[in-house]
Symmetry: C2
DNA sequence: GTACGCATGTAAACGGTTACATGATTTG
DNA sequence: CAAATCATGTAACCGTTTACATGCGTAC
């Protein structure tokens, strides 16, 4: 199997990370954007299931520009911010990603669950405290997500609301689980 | 607020990552272990909700040893593998972590959900294909987790089985969600 | 005994996070 | 106009992942 790029379907020269698609996707939705605009847009939407620090939104567009997937201009007045636009190649990369199912499911990587796994070194009280804390946090998160859902449900398309729906279901599943642990802590 | 370590409760000199606790926790459960033993132990248990490459199990114990949390010996015969044991300080760090609720909930970071969020650039067929693929993957995962649950349920304590239970519930929640998307794909 | 595959280990590259730095804008 | 807060940006650090390297056992 050759590693050479196919001459008629050149692969992008850089590996694209999830954040790459996040950036390209947001620019695809919003049109030309500055990093700060992306930050605000992400904060109101995609950050609720894919958090990242805003500094990513400065470095990543530069890499994508170097790879020919974005184009960079300067604002006329004010701060002369960098404004990024999808190139043809960028749009193509985005489209081609969207029609390729990832072939994998998410990984939990949940610190509380990790503690639960090792909880046989833990007193019953500590376990109840852990579960109680998780219950509180999931209640808060559910409240936040419900507020967002209420606020945006009319303006957004159903597809963009779907992740929020899944997020709510997941949070409720976790809430139930930790509630049961708190109410009836398993013995070691 | 001083950043100096408190003289009577010295903080560990290194930042401990999730994998640090994973390693210490596994050694706590198993007793003295070589990296390869840890790899096998993790593969049968904790990897199902916290995956990582085996190379972590070589670097991390070294760091923990340097921090005084593990002790390193050499096997007598054979390959003279390194055998790691929890020190007093290591056990203390593990215990103290276990009684400190993380104060945060997991983050999804699900590629398929990210695609769904940007799916308004996607045809209905592509969306159904994505959902169908996720359905297949979650069915497989559920089958694997159920097999593990069946296999280990007698030998393991209830607490160590709990993460598996949560994993199953999460997988079923996702399965339901994607099934609905596949059956009735939302319009943009 | 040789070839294949798995066991075991090391190290460098990449990308995400943390930390800091500076300019703008609001508020009292 | 001083101070506080927010907007905007950069850079180093650190952990994870990727890639490679070598040893050991086993089947034929």
């Amino acid at each position: 199997m050759s590693k050479q790029p196919h001459p008629f379907a050149p692969e992008p020269s850089v590996r694209l990370s999830p954040v790459s698609y996040l950036v390209m996707g947001l620019i695809g939705l919003r049109g030309p954007s500055t990093p700060y605009q992306l930050k605000r847009a992400a904060g109101r939407s995609v950050n609720y299931f894919w958090p990242f620090p805003h500094s990513q939104l400065y470095g990543e567009p530069e890499r994508l520009t170097a790879a020919g997937l974005l184009e960079e201009e300067r604002e006329e007045g004010g701060r002369h911010r960098k404004v990024y636009t999808l190139t043809k190649a960028g749009r193509a990369a985005l489209d081609s990603w969207l029609i390729s199912p990832p072939g994998e499911v998410f990984e939990m990587r949940d610190m509380a669950v990790l503690q639960l796994f090792f909880s046989e070194f833990m007193s019953r009280e500590a376990l109840v405290a852990l579960a109680g804390d998780q219950v509180r946090l999931y209640r808060e998160r559910i409240a936040v997500l419900e507020a967002i859902a209420l606020h945006y449900s009319e303006r957004q398309g159903r597809r963009r609301m779907a992740p929020l729906d899944l997020g709510l279901r997941m949070a409720r599943t976790c809430l139930d689980f930790w509630q049961e642990v708190a109410d009836d802590p398993p013995e070691a």
